[in-house]
């Protein structure tokens, strides 16, 4: 579904991603580990095509189409959906209006909000005064409304309290069709996580470590997480050398 070939990305002239190769087939969810500043968010932002992230080399293919030069909204319309780690606040704009715009005619945004106890937030300004958990719920409900084929999640559990963690996990499970057998799933995912908590709610197929702009240590995500917990990211650096 998503293929990334030799992707080099810089931000404000500084090279951040240095030749990423990645393929996520339909129905699979891959997990991205890596310490802060390693380039994980940059990879997701570059996949979405944000202007600050300059692709200097390589290409991004989605559903067989080269989207490297496509504007962000066209990527979204093709079926890419991103949950931001720290989304902006937009004063005056109601969360319900954005949710409705994401849903279009496909689904009732109010029914979605009601299902996840989010109705009181629809009249509030986008992310204004939201707690960490409320921000994540808002982000994920927008994705549910968008119904993307490829789900990109940037640290969906960060800043979320225990009460909200359960809801966040449930929504992600729904987004990625956890309840279906693998060959019946048609959604794919790429998820950044530090804690691995989210893996309790999804079926993660593959994991990687991103270190200093390079993708390393592909394998079972739970094994990778165990190794990181045991040996830290330094061991990855040594292993690579």
């Amino acid at each position: 579904m998503l293929e990334i070939e030799d992707l080099w990305v810089s931000i404000d002239g500084k090279e951040v991603l240095k030749g990423i190769n990645l393929a996520i087939p339909q129905g699979e969810t891959h997990i991205l580990f890596g310490k802060n500043g390693s380039g994980k968010s940059t990879l997701l932002m570059a996949i979405m095509g944000f202007s600050r992230y300059e692709v200097r080399q390589g290409r991004i293919l989605f559903l067989g189409r080269d989207i490297t030069q496509l504007p962000t909204f066209e990527r979204a319309r093709l079926g890419l959906g991103l949950s931001f780690q720290r989304p902006p606040t937009i004063r005056g704009v109601k969360t319900g209006d954005i949710l409705a715009a994401c849903a279009g005619e496909k689904v009732s945004h109010q029914a979605l909000a009601a299902a996840y106890d989010f109705l009181p937030f629809l009249d509030r300004e986008v992310n204004y005064g939201f707690s960490g958990g409320e921000i994540k719920r808002s982000e994920l409900l927008q994705l549910l409304a968008q119904d993307p084929k490829m789900v990109l999640l940037d640290e969906p559990e960060s800043g979320v309290d225990l009460e909200n963690l359960e809801v966040v996990g449930e929504i992600i499970g729904r987004l990625l069709q956890k309840d279906r057998r693998r060959h019946h799933r048609d959604k794919s995912g790429l998820i950044i996580t530090h804690t691995g908590f989210i893996m309790d709610y999804i079926n993660a197929d593959q994991g990687y470590i991103l270190l200093d702009g390079h993708l390393l240590c592909s394998g079972n995500p739970r094994d990778i997480l165990q190794d990181i917990k045991k040996f830290g990211y330094e061991e990855c650096s040594r292993c690579r050398r």
Binding site: M48, F50, S51, R52, P71, T72, F73, A76, R77, G81, L82, F84, P87, P88, I90, R91, G92, V93, K94, D97, I98, A101, C102, E125, V126, Q142, Q146
Partner: protein, 403 residues
Amino acid sequence: MSEIKERAAKSREKKAALGADLEFAGFSRQGGQWEYDPDYGRFDPEERRHLLRAGIELTDAEHAGTFLQADNAVVHCQANQPGVELLPITEAIKGHDLAADLLWRLVAVDADKYTARAELELDNGYFIRALPGVKIPEPVESCLYLRTDRFSQHVHNLVVVEPGAQMHIITGCTAHPKVNSGLHVGVSEFYVRAGGRLTFTMVHNWAEDIHVRPRTGVMVEEGGSFVSNYILLRPVKTVQMYPTVTLAGPGAVASLNSIVIAHPGSEIDMGGRVILQAPRTRGEVIARTITTGGRTISRGHLVGLEPDIKAHLECRGLILAPTGYIYAVPELEGRVAGVDLSHEAAVGRIAAEEIEYLMARGLDEEEAVSTIVRGFLRVKIEGLPPALEEEIEEAIRETGKGM
């Protein structure tokens, strides 16, 4: 000569404290010969469409009253519901017990050359009164209309909301599609008596070379409430206004909201002043300004004269063009201990990350900008005619284009 006339005569050439100075010689006092039009039959379809853009529906249905003044002529004036009195001000001064006594009490006749002209060369204006305890369900519609090019229109409006009464006035101030220049001087004095409620929505839809000088004073008595909504979305040459609301009785409340788009060539100097001179009064001034190339000064002044008052001022501006200019001047003046006055001012551009965030949800760039602009200008105004809401939407869409 009366004392009022004498003061006006002395101020005939007195420059206003704010705004570009205008010479009356540059305008004409020859208005058109417009006849009274009981069924609006003298308005052609194009003119009707144009008036709709200022919220004027040209129908007596669904309005508690309708007043329409073209240049210096009152062409329609009719109260449609019990409890509403509606007269041209010139008739009210002669025939109504209240009117003459209430003029020039909230606005000084000698404030500047514009107030002076409104006294010395008065065309007309409206007198609207809601009788005690009457809650008027439909809005009263008024229209001050420039139908002749270069005309200098001078009006004086008087509104009285008696104790316990409630009323919404929608005023559309606009010019004929073929009129491009002129001057509108409008003195307005509003009295909200104890427990009364007045909502006043004013839509300005002028033209590129029209100058506008409203002069407004409002007094709200005990437990009364005044809500002002001001909407300016289309080009104008200059506007200078600084309405003053005095909260004179305990528990009185005022809320002044404005949404303004300053187009290239427009100079807009506007604000709102609330004087909280009684205990437990509450005030709010909220200004949303967008420039697509025009110059705006957004003022606000809260004056706290009693303890246990609370008021907030919010000036927010968006600059959407390199030549745009916004100058926010928030002023807080507390004269005793125990006042609670606050302000928030922010002027800037739309952040790229906000636009891209919405684009990640599938909105194209123009839709994203329009969504942000719509949110920015969102001020809840109840009772707007659907055509006016559509006009606001259209202005927002146009503003989002070419960003």
